[in-house]
Amino acid sequence: MDLTRRDAVAALAATGGAVAVGRTLLDDDQSADATAADADVPEDALATLVAVAEVVYPDAATGVDDFVETYVSGRVADDDERRAGVVDAAAELDATARDWFDTPLTELDPGTLDGMLRDLRVDASDPDPNGGIPGRVRFYVVNELLYAFYASPTGGRLVGIENPIGHPGGTESYRRAGMEDHG
């Protein structure tokens, strides 16, 4: 189940200020790199988010790198406060990995990273942009990633709905008896 930039754009469509970015990407994939650069998300933060996505996404998901980078870049492109929240939470996760395992987060194997997130209680914490580390990681990292995935048509389709809430997928799908096969 391959995630695409188009999926990332679809998930962005419901997130507000980044819609224009998404539309640009849809119109011209060549602009994606420039847009990501403009968004000014540090490479190490993006790499951390991709590593977390590999854990919180189902194993069937592929194409995670491009999907996450496109989504996150678009998501924070015109929102300095959110960008700071995402970057800070990613940095704190990476610092935790270095502290606990003496290694960068991106070099942890998925099982170890999964355990670290659970030991931090990120799985059981309420998302809170102003809370402690677990709440902020849940808000800025895990829930951002899960939202991007399950509000996209490809992620939704994995569950059984090609037009999930938040995705402006038109008024045809609700009339069908089954999922449309997009291959």
Binding site: T15, Y150, V159, I161, I165, G166, G170, T171, Y174
Partner: protein, 531 residues
């Protein structure tokens, strides 16, 4: 939101001052302004920026983000008294657009019986007009709101003109319900929606965000902002964040001279006008009249009858839901496409019951994922288990007018301007309870016809209001028995008019906004002639 420093000083002259920029006030304002009158609209809440709608959708879907329409807080403080708490701050929006900002958008005409419940059945109250009187205005209202519908409802009152837009086709789950209902002798039909099935009036067609209530980012769902824009295009002045504190009348007590309103900097201004139209909902209309008590009207303005605030009505929810052994395809869209009015016009039960077949039953994978305590393959597995086989049938049940259900002032609690807050007393009578039970019987029978495993039933003990505030400034011909005359002008004051569902003598079980719009069209015609 709009600039807090915007000019909020009064207009030098106004033919009409409209208090409230929800659908009732906005329609009146637009039509009066387009007729060439000088119109000022005052709204207690802010003007919301259309460009923020996607962010609001995002805030709605994500746990940890609060606030969509600024509902609640000291500004919106209220009290409840009596047998049931009333969740007022979930039930209305103060702001330009009013509660259409977060409504779902179902717009049915009242049935003929709704106008004559006293004459026909000896209960409730008759309206001083009948369906035929309102019928042309219903057609106007459908054009004003851009209603998508089909003439396929065998129980609907007669109509001659087509709906402005084609109906949304029924959902897959509607088809499942239709089979069961047919077996039970319950014909189903389309739902008229104030939602664009095609581009209309400069707004997009629905694109299926699935979050109609509380926010439509596409603009396909009607909000009163459309009429506010029309009013402004015709020269009306709209002042937001301008809660009216009181109305001031002349020495003779025959005419309202001005609306006194406050602005965010704490200043009070006085907007003089030849006519004043109250359009701030069934609760705040009452509060403003009561806050405007004077020597001439010690019990509140326009309250010679003593009935201002009485006969508060809402619609009660009844519903049942569960799961079946078939794909139901829920949560693609956030609105309904099929209903059943078969229980509405009979006498068993006497209170009207309208059945709604929900397209948003069961959890959405998106919101469930964000609340989950797990991730990865385990989360996917739980989402797959949860999604796809839910069904629910809801419904609205009529509540007959009861003088003891009322809005008053709680003088022990004040809002951010030091004014007493509204106090809501709401109870549910035996007839309504019985009608809810009857609705439940039918709903359960439909689900059993589908061999559903029923997970929940909302009956009379768990019911809640549908947030349709009706009846507190009722319409009638007798000044001793009503607050406004059939033209929606108060009996007591020559130039004070009331728009909205507070004038409904009875409320039926149909969502009220189309009738609000129809009455607003009619009121604007009358007021245009009067001015």
């Amino acid at each position: 939101m709009a600039d807090a420093a915007a000019d909020r000083t009064p207009a030098p002259r106004a033919d009409a001052c409209v208090v409230g920029a929800g659908p009732a006030g906005a329609i009146v304002a637009a039509r009066l302004a387009e007729a060439g009158h000088d119109v000022v609209v005052l709204d207690a809440g802010p003007r919301f920026d259309l460009a923020d709608r996607e962010e609001q959708l995002d805030a709605h879907l994500r746990p940890g983000v609060e606030g969509l329409w600024g509902m609640g807080g000291e500004r919106d403080a209220y009290a409840t008294e009596g047998p049931r708490d009333y969740p007022l701050n979930a039930a209305r929006v103060k702001g330009v657009g009013g509660s259409t900002l977060h409504w779902q958008g179902m717009v049915m005409r009242l049935h003929e019986r709704d106008f004559a419940m006293r004459s026909r059945h000896g209960v409730g109250a008759d309206w001083p007009l009948d369906y035929a009187d309102l019928r042309p205005h219903y057609a106007e209202a459908e054009r004003e709101l851009g209603v998508a519908g089909a003439d396929d409802n065998p129980f609907a009152p007669p109509r001659e003109e087509p709906f402005p837009l084609p109906a949304f086709p029924p959902s897959h789950s509607d088809a499942i319900f239709a089979e069961a209902c047919e077996s039970l002798g319950l014909p189903t039909h389309s739902v008229p929606n104030a939602r664009n099935s095609e581009p209309y009036d400069g707004a997009s067609a629905c694109v299926g965000y699935g979050t109609c209530k509380p926010v439509c980012p596409s603009g396909a769902k009607y909000t009163a902002e459309r009429h506010v824009a029309r009013a402004e295009a015709a020269g009306a002045r709209v002042i937001d964040r301008a809660p009216v504190q009181r109305l001031v009348h002349d020495d003779a007590g025959e005419r309202v001279e001005a609306a006194v309103y406050a602005t965010p900097d704490g200043t009070e201004h006085r907007q003089d006008a030849r006519a004043v139209v109250l359009a701030c909902g069934g609760v705040e209309n009452v509060r403003l009249l009561l806050l405007s008590a004077s020597e001439s009207y010690p019990d509140g303005l326009a309250n010679s009858s003593g009935l201002v605030g009485r006969y508060f009505m809402d619609h009660c929810f009844a519903g049942a839901g569960g799961r079946i052994d078939r794909e139901t395809r829920q949560n693609h869209v956030g609105f309904n496409t099929t209903e059943c009015h078969a229980l509405y016009d009979g006498t068993d039960p006497l209170p009207g019951v309208k059945l709604e077949f929900l397209n948003y039953a069961g959890p959405s994978p998106v919101t469930q994922a964000l609340d989950a305590d797990d991730w990865g393959d385990a989360l996917l597995e739980s989402l797959r288990e949860s999604y796809g086989t839910h069904l629910a049938v809801g419904g609205l049940v009529e509540q007959f007018p009861d003088a003891e259900n009322r809005i008053t002032l709680d003088r022990s609690t004040t809002d951010d301007h030091g004014n007493p807050v509204p106090e809501v007393r709401w109870s549910i009578g035996q007839r309504t309870r019985a009608a809810i039970e009857r609705a439940n019987e039918v709903q359960v029978a439909i689900l059993e016809e589908l061999d559903a495993e029923i997970d929940w039933v909302v009956g009379p003990d768990a019911t809640g209001p549908a947030f349709h505030h009706m009846g507190t400034t009722r319409m009638g011909t007798d000044p001793a028995e009503s607050v406004v005359a059939p033209d929606c002008r108060t009996h007591d004051l020559d130039n004070l008019w009331i728009a909205g569902s507070s004038v409904f003598p009875t409320g039926g079980a149909m969502n009220p906004t189309l009738t609000i719009a129809a009455l607003s069209c009619r009121l604007a015609d009358r007021l245009d002639g009067w001015l």
